[in-house]
């Protein structure tokens, strides 16, 4: 079943190659079908998954390159399954909502499906070599997606994105090779690498962990390494932005959790520094988000801030913190997905991303305005949304370690309320459309959401509220696996 999940998008991409390039709608429908089948497949996995067992489930392995000890090992546990679900859901929505793509549609949809496959392999790999290969594989479709179909500065954004990530992955590779060197039986399997890592002296462990941290921190992003993110998010076509912030950033955080799993002693030694970086990201992202006038850039910077919350939860290294970090990853995936979806649809209609262009949106497009307000408030972490459940857990988890230092995290919360409300205020008030038409000369009305777009946005909104009101199923899914991880850390 897991293999079917990984192969379905690739199969879809192959199918797309047979369709003539001018039949754009057929291409989109086929791609949506493939992504939808993948989503169904992941839901079936969820049904078959046994949350009470902390072991790796659906495990399958076959030798890949026996001479270097690489295996094609796949498996899911309570940490990776939520990520797989999130990835399949967002990929499906991103593909289904790409109605604006008319030129180069064949390449676009094939690349998206290849990207989905690579993402799913990253989340289900049980072997570091496979993980690394899939990690690099995500870059190729993304580079072309941004470079071919992005905004005005797309070349720069794509190059910047790939260079940053490649630079980070080199450190990742070195760290992995160091671990491989000491792993018993020279194997890349995650369990073996962890066993090998435990034998290293503490200083080397910290060095290896630092390498992993740089690699994952670029993707996540952690503050001094975030340079690629604002540009890439702003320039990428909106469905790709959904995937970038919804799933790609989570890869970094997911990898970091795995890294803590592999090198618990080093993670414990680095704990305070991680928290410092987390607080820096949190405040840096929030403050810069406050300064943006471009709505997409604002959401991009707020992503940095939200991933700071995730890092803070991971840094706490206790059950509450990790569980909060995982919840925040899911919550942010849904919220950022919804926001980028809405902004993308708005951009299709207005050809402007400036906040000022959306003044009095509620007069002509009330559903847009209501959903944007909803998504921004959910991003702030109001109770009832998924972000609240996550933030409470992270704060409580981190409180156990750092106490009063969390005042800085509260500062970030305060600023996040300020920028979200400023955006809502812009959407809901101000001079009417007459002024805007004077600037852009566009049509005087923005069409409201179509039914299919409404359904897509509604699906995400229901997910956000569902997790916010009734979080226990999600928490139950991860709790056993996280308990195992925490028990390792306690040693």
């Amino acid at each position: 079943m897991l293999r079917a999940l990984l192969l379905l998008p690739l199969f879809g991409a192959g199918l797309l190659a047979l369709v003539p390039a001018r039949r754009v709608d057929l291409l989109r429908q086929l791609a949506s079908l493939a992504a939808g089948a993948t989503l169904v497949c992941s839901l079936l996995l969820l049904v078959a998954f046994d949350p009470d067992s902390g072991a790796i489930q659906f495990f399958e392995t076959r030798p890949w390159n026996p001479r270097v000890g690489a295996h094609f090992a796949l498996g899911l546990d309570g940490v990776s399954l939520p990520m797989v679900l999130l990835a399949t859901l967002l990929c499906f929505l991103a593909i289904a909502c790409s109605t604006g793509v008319r030129t180069g549609a064949k390449l676009y949809f094939s690349l998206l499906l290849v990207l989905e496959s690579a993402l799913l392999v990253v989340f289900s790999a049980r072997d570091w070599s496979l993980f690394y290969v899939a990690w690099e594989l995500t870059l190729i479709p993304l580079f072309f997606l941004i470079d071919r179909l992005g905004g005005a500065h797309r070349h720069r954004a794509a190059l910047n994105f790939v260079l940053y990530t490649l630079g980070g992955s080199v450190f990742l590779l070195i760290a992995l090779l160091l671990l491989y060197d000491v792993a018993p039986g020279h194997s890349f399997a995650m369990a073996d690498m962890a066993a090998g890592g435990a034998q290293l002296p503490a200083r080397t462990q910290v060095l290896v962990f630092l390498g992993l941290l740089v690699g994952f921190g670029v993707k996540m992003p952690i503050v001094p390494l975030h340079g690629w993110l604002p540009l890439a998010h702003v320039e990428a076509p909106s469905p790709v932005s959904i995937l970038l912030s919804g799933v790609l950033l989570k890869m970094g955080a997911y990898g970091l959790i795995r890294a803590a799993w592999t090198l618990p002693a080093a993670a414990l030694a680095m704990q305070d520094w991680l928290a410092l970086l987390a607080l820096a990201s949190l405040i840096h992202g929030a403050v810069l988000a406050w300064r943006q006038t471009d709505l997409k850039a604002m959401i991009a910077y707020s992503s940095i801030s939200h991933m700071g919350v995730v890092l803070l939860g991971i840094a706490a290294l206790n059950h509450a913190g990790l569980s909060g970090a995982m919840t925040q990853m899911v919550a942010h995936g849904l919220v950022a997905g919804l926001l980028f979806l809405l902004v993308g649809l708005l951009y299709e209609r207005t050809h402007s991303r400036e906040l000022a262009a959306y003044r009095s949106l509620h007069a002509s497009a009330p559903r847009f305005a209501a959903l944007i307000a909803f998504a921004l408030l959910a991003a702030v972490g109001l109770p009832g949304g998924a972000g609240f459940v996550a933030e409470v857990q992270v704060l409580i988890g981190a409180y156990g370690r750092w106490g009063g230092w969390l005042l800085f995290a509260s500062l970030g919360m305060l600023i996040s309320a300020a920028y979200a409300l400023r955006a809502i205020r812009c959407v809901w008030s101000g001079p009417g459309r007459a002024v805007r038409t004077g600037i852009s000369g566009g049509s005087s009305r923005i069409d409201d959401l179509k039914r299919s777009e409404y359904a897509a946005a509604g699906l995400l909104a229901v997910g956000i509220v569902g997790i916010g009101v009734c979080p226990s199923p999600l928490l139950a899914l991860m709790t056993t696996s996280l308990s195992r991880l925490v028990s390792q850390l306690a040693v």
Binding site: A152, H153, R156, V389, V392, L395, I396, A398, L414, A418
Partner: protein, 516 residues
């Protein structure tokens, strides 16, 4: 006798329905929101529907509350009722629990009653206003949130109500979306309230680690908690209470909040929300009694707010401001009672005061009709002292102080961080070629402009090597020169290839050298 037993058993069974009290108004809010989204909430019929939804559910909540009150009076109600588990944080469960005691039940009944009356009043007051349904959405949300604050048995549930009240207050202050002043005020109010929320969240975090529970009833522990911990724990909640009750450093938000329609001002700031802080203090009185110094601080803040509000009240010229400052003064007095440890007097005062103020605020729009004589002039003792008069008129410049102490530094920080990004991080790591100026990429050395620290280092090394190379060529004969030139050609190709992933590869090699 048998009848009596059956009756009390029925009452005890009805107690299980207490969760309906906050849920009913919230349900109405959700329904109204759905109606609005489906664009059915407009027009006279939509108006009637949303008003009926709000007032019907509130009446329902009131009836349920009456039954619970009766059960409590007859002694069948437990003081603390656990309805369900919500989620589990580490080993601490977060429950859906309700406190049914002498503080919560009267407060909840009063809240439901006042909210119901206000809804009935606003049905006429806002008839055929553009945002009629939106107003009732906010009102229903607010009623649900306040009922949750009053009834909830643990800190997280109270916080949910706390946020709902804050959010709906933001919704109603910004009721007139078109006016920039209203939306600016709404934002100011919400952000100020977030300060208190941050305190509340810190309190929750500390409660999990130091008290091991989130239920109000057991928060004080068994008296073994260290004073320092208790002080920290209480301080977070007290901060939240001070903000919600608009006590001294935080007073400006409440005057800005009067921007909303009159019925919402009545129910929010005149009567209910402003007392939420006092109620929270009463709820955690066991904990507060363990830290007398904090009680002293509360009393002092209450006293100074009372004086400050009394001073400002005497110079106000519009009816809503003239009502809000005496309200603040009374709330200040309640805090003084809390600070003296007389929590039951504070609660009693709050209840009576809430009932009285809601009448005053609802009558405020008709003040010109009702008043028989002109408003009193500024008292003579104040009019004579010009500096005091100015200070009162300017409300002691608190708002300006907040602006220059908090908002301006944050703006400046934002500017600095962006400059830091552009001036320091980008030059250090380098930025790739700008699409808009492709010609600038072919500057000397073939490196793109702004190549970053690593790029500059590479250029410098290349220049030095070139010098050495030049000297070698000068001294050598023709054959060597040819060979060298050919090698240089290869090296040039290799270098050109290397330049594609550029300095990052260089960093990689440097790292290889360091680690291996």
């Amino acid at each position: 006798m048998n009848d009596w037993d059956a009756f009390s058993a029925a009452l005890a069974a009805a107690l299980r329905l207490v969760w309906l009290v906050p849920v009913l108004p919230l349900f109405a809010a959700v329904l109204i929101a759905l109606l609005l989204l489906a664009a059915r909430g407009c027009g006279d019929s939509g108006e009637r529907l949303s008003a009926a939804l709000a007032s019907g559910t509130l009446l329902g909540a009131l009836v349920v509350l009456a039954v619970v009150d009766l059960a409590a009076l007859l002694g069948v109600a437990p003081g603390h009722l656990v309805a369900a588990d919500w989620l589990r944080i580490g080993r601490v469960p977060v429950r859906v629990s309700f406190a049914l005691d002498a503080y919560s039940l009267p407060a909840a009944t009063l809240i439901a009653l006042v909210a119901w009356i206000t809804v009935r009043f606003s049905t006429r007051y806002l008839h055929r206003e553009a945002g009629f349904s939106r107003f009732f959405l906010g009102l229903a949300l607010f009623a649900g949130g306040m009922l949750l604050i009053a009834l909830s048995g643990n800190a997280v549930m109270t916080f949910v109500g706390w946020e709902l009240a804050g959010f709906s207050s933001w919704l109603l202050v910004g009721y007139a979306w078109e006016r920039p002043a209203a939306t600016a005020s709404a934002q100011f109010v919400f952000v100020t309230n977030r300060v208190g929320d941050a305190g509340f969240l810190l309190g929750i975090g500390l409660a999990v680690w130091s008290a091991g529970t989130l239920e109000w009833a057991w928060l004080a522990g068994d008296g073994t908690m260290a004073t320092v911990t208790a002080r920290l724990l209480a301080a977070g909640f007290v901060l939240a209470a001070l903000v919600k009750s608009a006590q001294l450093p935080f007073t400006p938000w409440i005057t800005r909040a009067l921007e909303g329609p009159t019925p919402s001002s009545a129910i929010f700031y005149g009567s209910l929300m402003v007392h939420a802080g006092v109620y929270l203090l009463c709820r955690m009185q066991d904990l507060l009694l363990m830290v007398p110094d904090l009680l002293l601080v509360i009393a002092l803040i209450g006293l100074s707010t009372a004086f400050y509000a009394a001073l400002c009240a005497s110079v106000q010229s519009d009816v809503k401001s003239a009502l809000i400052y005496p309200t603040l003064a009374q709330v200040g007095l309640m805090l003084v009672f809390c600070g003296l440890g007389l929590f039951w007097i504070a609660a009693l005062h709050a209840g009576l005061h809430a009932a009285w103020r809601v009448v005053q605020f609802l009558l405020a729009p008709a003040w010109l009709n009702l008043a028989r004589r002109p408003a009193r002039p500024v008292p003579r003792w104040l009019a004579g002292r010009r500096w005091l008069y100015t200070a009162a008129l300017q409300r002691l410049w608190i708002e300006n102080l907040v602006y220059s102490l908090l908002i301006r530094p944050t703006l400046a920080l934002g500017r600095d961080l962006q400059a830091f990004d552009a001036q320091f991080i980008d030059p250090l790591i380098g930025t790739p070629v700008d699409d808009s100026h492709p010609s600038r990429s072919v500057v000397a050395g073939g490196l793109p402009h702004r190549p970053g620290l690593a790029g500059w280092a590479l250029t410098a090394v290349a220049r030095r090597l070139e010098d050495v190379e030049g000297q070698l060529l000068m001294s050598g004969d023709g054959a060597l020169e040819r060979v060298l030139r050919r090698t240089a050609g290869y090296a040039g190709t290799v270098e050109a290839l290397l330049e594609q992933p550029r300095y990052l590869m260089l960093m990689v090699m440097a790292t290889f050298a360091v680690i291996l």
